[in-house]
Symmetry: C2
Subunit: 203 residues, 2 copies
Amino acid sequence: MANPKTQDTEGQILDAAQEVFQKKGMDGARMQEIADQAGINKAMLHYYYRSKQLLFEAVFSKAFALLAPQMNKILNDDSSIEEKVKNFTHNYISFISKHPYLPNFIIQEMNRNPNFFEKLQQNTAFPTLEKFNKQVGLEVEQGILKPTDGKQLFVHILSLNIFPFVATPLIKALLGVDETGFNDLIEERKTAVSNFIIESIKK
Amino acid sequence: MANPKTQDTEGQILDAAQEVFQKKGMDGARMQEIADQAGINKAMLHYYYRSKQLLFEAVFSKAFALLAPQMNKILNDDSSIEEKVKNFTHNYISFISKHPYLPNFIIQEMNRNPNFFEKLQQNTAFPTLEKFNKQVGLEVEQGILKPTDGKQLFVHILSLNIFPFVATPLIKALLGVDETGFNDLIEERKTAVSNFIIESIKK
DNA sequence: ATCTTTGTTAACCGTTTGGTTAAACCTTAT
DNA sequence: ATAAGGTTTAACCAAACGGTTAACAAAGAT
């Protein structure tokens, strides 16, 4: 990633917009604050991106494009289910630890405007569950896994990996841990989650 | 719940505010829209609740007060871990199916303003993990459960139960299901989630 | 050198927003 | 009847908002 100071104006704007939108959401973000963050005049935002809506869509699409490959890895590569679970859990948690605002941003804005999300769904090469589903069925037949529904398993995997990052303040409060304690918990989860899943589905 | 038409103005406002705030969040909600929803003049909102912030806090506190007892059930009653997991999963999913906006509202606003949440944490009888943690340790010693960390197990349980309601649009898209298909999936989860957990931790 | 295009700014504009006000409207006690 | 209290309304207000404009600066092209 390039140093902001050496980037051109358009890139500086996108970086600033990403920061502000991810912290405050579409409704809470202010064009002036994005301009201040980027260290430029507010008119430049409109010069490069026309409107708040279009600037937001640029930020959202860029963010979503970061996540999609992670999904495709678990859905469409050729390793076994057990390997997929282990790799996805470890990789995803590592990845999100570096971008902690990302999941909440995506989910918050998907809920705010499902229409825009449907548009994205058609344009992007959107991941599908087909291959994963078949693979689970096959490994059940082969006696590698206990009887397991692919859809439910996939939702389990997403829930266990993503939820803690979405509900960080709630979990901190309920567990009574601070920033450090939470980070330790997350670090533990890189193995705890995959062990928990494998233990449940492996024969 | 009383019929809105037979309620007094203050109650009508709170109901209308709940609906609008839960759909659009603090930043997206408009006082005029709340007034319209309640069928009254905008000035009445300020007459009864002084400001948008105070009206919002009334809505948030009421919503949180609905969820806290659910948490306490799994943390502080006297049944076994297995029973707790089964009951919590079934009860929580049933409960949230009737209030689908609730989890996302709480989480979204907790992330937006962690300070306000800390205030709430001190005032309310806030659930703690202490008893649950001890109980897990005990059942592990007794050979009922495999070696299990109480904290991680609790995060697992919350994640599996809450996440699908928070990320509904994402899950619908990835699984390629419509409203009906999603509802079926959720209905299945009342047993699928508890079986999945028990299978993993029970000796 | 001068023209043209692109990038940048301060000032401005119309609208929307949360919030206020003063007058009117009930209800009820005397 | 009427005075007093709380309740409700239309009209209004200042501030904040997204967006525009016109003038200016920088950089290439001829």
